[in-house]
């Protein structure tokens, strides 16, 4: 390269400096230890092989639409991942585009039979899904793939549940209602009956008359799951509604700083919180036969669980 020696040296030096900085250095400096929360693909079950399932996941190109890492801003996709979770994930399946749900913590979300049916005919299980059908997979492939899906995130225990945004902690400090008192719960019952029972049902079981026509079914407040909700989170859900569902924003038109604003005032919302906190049962109530099911609800007011004094009117069996 007559006369261009300097240029050639420059290109070589530039390129190798960059490779050193961005390829070699991370390989040397970045060695996360296994966190114990990621998969290690040790086969525990001889019937199905999650490691082989992972190879089928790759073969069928699942990673073009499904990602496998939760970001700090993702809601409803489980615990955040850590660097040590990926030590045994080669080749990485982080993914690039989310045309489909994130699968980081998919394991255990649905029964295996559901997963298999969903692979064969996605639209039967999730109307409106655009996932291709994988009905061409052999039975063994299908079982291994499902076993792999069921291992995703299983080693990652839940440490913190979803929290209300910070401004609701301030709203909590402005609270004027004792949400643990029976009086407040009683006051909330009326508000609930007027505003919420249409969808959530009179007993909070999520089977009000409107629930028939709603695709995303209303919450069943008698589930023990709702025991984990704290006051701020209940208040947040009532105020802002639930994205992706028909749940309205009861704080609409108001602000967090003006207690008298919104469709329901702050006071009314706090009464509602007090009532909602009384609805949870220790276990789901199940029935064995269809005719034991409350198909049509009788118009009767629900029983308050922490009732000390029978109110003058309403309620009770």
């Amino acid at each position: 390269m007559n006369g261009y020696r300097l240029g050639a040296i420059g290109i070589v030096i530039t390129f190798f400096t960059i490779v050193t900085a961005t390829v070699l250095l991370p390989m040397v400096l970045f060695n996360p230890k296994p966190s114990g929360h990621g998969n290690n693909y040790v086969v525990a079950n001889i019937e199905v092989d999650p490691a082989r399932g992972r190879r089928i996941y790759i073969r069928e190109g699942c990673f073009y639409c499904h990602t496998q890492f939760t970001r700090p801003q993702d809601r409803g996709y489980g615990p955040l991942v850590k660097a040590g979770d990926y030590v045994f994930e080669t080749p990485h399946q982080l993914g690039t585009a989310r045309t489909a749900p994130d699968l980081t913590n998919e394991g255990g979300k649905y029964p295996s039979e559901w997963q298999k049916a969903h692979l064969v005919n996605p639209r039967a299980m999730k109307p409106g899904s655009i996932m291709p059908s994988f009905s061409f997979l052999s039975n063994r492939d299908m079982n291994d793939l499902v076993s792999y899906i069921q291992t995703l995130g299983n080693e990652r225990p839940v440490q913190a549940y979803v929290q209300a945004p910070d401004e609701y902690k301030i709203a909590l400090s402005m609270k004027t209602v004792d949400t643990n008192s029976d009086a407040a719960a009683n006051a909330g019952r009326g508000i609930y009956t007027q505003n919420c029972s249409g969808c959530h049902g009179l007993q909070g079981t999520g089977n009000g008359p409107n629930s028939i026509s709603i695709e995303k079914k209303p919450a069943n407040f008698t589930r023990p799951f709702y025991k984990q909700y704290d006051d701020a989170f209940w208040f947040y859900r009532i105020t802002e509604g639930v994205p992706g569902t028909r749940m309205p924003r009861w704080g609409d038109g108001g602000s967090l700083w003006d207690p008298r604003s919104g469709l329901l005032t702050h006071e009314q919302r706090w009464y509602l919180v007090a009532y909602l906190k009384t609805l949870q049962k220790d276990a789901e109530v199940t029935v064995n036969k269809l005719d034991q099911l409350d198909k049509v609800q009788q118009t009767k007011l629900p029983v308050l669980t922490r009732q000390r004094f029978e109110p003058a009117t309403g309620g009770g069996d």
């Binding site: 007559n2 240029g7 290109i11 070589v12 530039t14 390129f15 960059i18 490779v19 900085a21 961005t22 390829v23 991370p26 390989m27 970045f30 060695n31 996360p32 790759i58 073969r59 069928e60 190109g61 699942c62 990673f63 073009y64 890492f69 970001r71 700090p72 801003q73 993702d74 809601r75 409803g76 991942v81 660097a83 030590v87 045994f88 994930e89 080669t90 080749p91 990485h92 399946q93 982080l94 993914g95 690039t96 585009a97 989310r98 045309t99 489909a100 749900p101 996605p122 999730k126 109307p127 409106g128 899904s129 655009i130 291709p132 059908s133 009905s135 061409f136 995303k216 994205p243 992706g244």
Partner: protein, 461 residues
């Protein structure tokens, strides 16, 4: 002699063969992309045929348009541009033709393996071990061929295109070797870091640098005007060489990889505005006073369209790479639109321009039909604009869906019209490419006939 017909040493044959093969694979690759796009709209279009399921089509689509169409076209274009710039012959036409066959063999292998899902599972590095090694040797052979041509040059000074070509042919084989990770097993996140070093640099150190080099060659040739500034072009070259390579990690900004690596990636992504704007200033100033030529000069029209799309894609890029915009837009179809803006909007157009300019000069045959070239441009331009708009809107809807925590099956319904629009745009683009291939076939392989006026009766029939 058989060897002469297979490994011809006729001047320009390697270049011509590369360009024709590139056209062939482009039709297959873009067709696979269209098939995938249709399956987004009609998910049950193909049932029980694993070879035609969306992910397999996508694997083949990506590899056929990058390794097949763009890379083969780039090599073909370099094989005629470098001898023209150095005023000498290609060092070895036989080696060039050998590489051409090997490269086609790789693509046949890719067709057979990827559609069956025999992949390494690494995005943009899907090809299996044997094919990887073949591509590597092919790249090294191309480098050798071009470097030896430049060594034998009759012109002392190296034009800026040659800087780009020589630089790319030095670093891209290395990027390819580093990026494939065929024979190494790295822990997950390290694998991802190298994966994105490769995934971004196949664009940054190969498609961009060769494409810009081609633009530097074509614009002055097509407009018969000197380049605006040689100094600016050097600034652009060194800017790209410095700032493009470390940007890969901006693809995994929210994953638990080291923060310092993310910082390097974001900062160098923003600095990329410098070379991009210098390069484009140079192009647009070269075009000064000649903009009217795009009406009649069709290869120039392709080149100018390409540089305008380059402006859009490279202003999007640095902003997308900043943390706060990435926070919102990552994982959405916006990014897919951005990728198509670079590879289809910018580099496919400049490659089309190079083919339209180069093939007549290589073969001595004029284009069969100017009208078909016009049709190709309009179908590609309108189709691509439609695709870009629909993917961008779909991406914004998706981004809002993720930001507000709305379940996938809810926003999934909202973007279905945009999947349909993208399928339509795909039909237009594939049709444009088919017209391109048909035009090339007619010009190269069908002997030009003496014009005979058809009788009215024959026209009616």
């Amino acid at each position: 002699m058989l060897i002469d017909s297979i490994l011809s040493d006729k001047e320009g044959s390697a270049s011509r063969n590369f360009l024709v093969s590139a056209l062939f694979w482009s039709v297959l690759g873009m067709g696979a992309g269209l098939g995938g796009a249709l399956e987004f709209s009609i998910p049950d279009l193909v049932h029980n045929v694993p070879q035609l399921s969306m992910p397999h089509l996508r694997m083949f689509h990506v590899n056929a348009v990058t390794i097949g169409w763009l890379s083969m076209g780039y090599v073909g274009s370099m094989f005629y541009m470098v001898p023209a710039l150095t005023k000498t012959k290609l060092w070895s036409e036989r080696l060039g033709n050998l590489v051409m066959w090997a490269w086609n063999l790789v693509m046949v292998g890719a067709f057979c393996t990827l559609l069956n899902g025999n992949t390494e599972g690494r995005e943009y590095a899907e090809l299996g071990a044997v094919l990887d090694v073949m591509v590597m040797f092919a790249l090294i052979a191309v480098s050798l061929n071009i470097y030896m041509t430049v060594v034998n040059r009759k012109v002392k000074k190296l034009y800026v295109s040659l800087w780009y070509f020589l630089g790319s042919l030095f670093w891209f084989p290395l990027v390819y070797i580093i990026g494939q990770r065929t024979f190494v097993q790295l822990p997950g996140l390290n694998d991802a870091i190298i994966g994105w070093f490769y995934g971004h640099n196949i664009l940054g150190m190969w498609f961009t640098t060769i494409g810009v080099g081609m633009m530097y060659y074509l614009l002055p040739r097509l407009t018969n005007a000197p380049l605006y500034s040689h100094g600016l072009s050097m600034l652009g070259f060194w800017g790209i060489a410095l700032f493009y390579a470390p940007t890969g990690t901006h693809h995994i900004l929210q994953s638990p990889v080291p923060e310092w690596l993310k910082a390097i990636a974001v900062i160098s992504s923003i600095f990329l505005l410098v070379p991009v704007l210098t390069v484009l200033t140079n192009f647009f100033m070269t075009m000064k006073g000649k903009w009217g030529m795009v009406v009649t000069d069709l290869p120039l029209r392709f080149a100018v369209t390409s540089s305008v799309f380059y402006l859009i894609t490279c202003t999007q890029g640095p902003f997308q790479a900043t943390r706060w915009i990435n926070w919102y837009l990552h994982f959405t179809q916006w990014v897919v639109g951005h990728a198509h803006l670079a590879l289809l909007g910018t580099f496919s157009f400049i490659l089309s321009s190079a083919v339209y300019y180069g093939l007549p000069r290589l073969t001595g045959r004029q284009w069969y039909s100017q009208g078909l070239i016009r049709a190709h441009w309009w179908l590609k331009f309108l189709g691509f604009t439609l695709m870009m708009v629909s993917l961008t809107i779909a991406g914004l809807i998706q981004a809002a869906g993720w930001a507000f925590g709305i379940p996938v099956d809810q926003w999934g319904l909202q973007i279905r019209p945009y999947w349909a629009l993208r399928s339509i745009s795909g039909v237009m683009i594939v049709l444009g490419q088919l017209i391109f291939a048909y035009n090339a076939f007619k010009s190269l392989y069908v002997p030009a006939k003496v014009e005979v006026k058809a009788k009215p009766a024959e026209v009616k029939a």
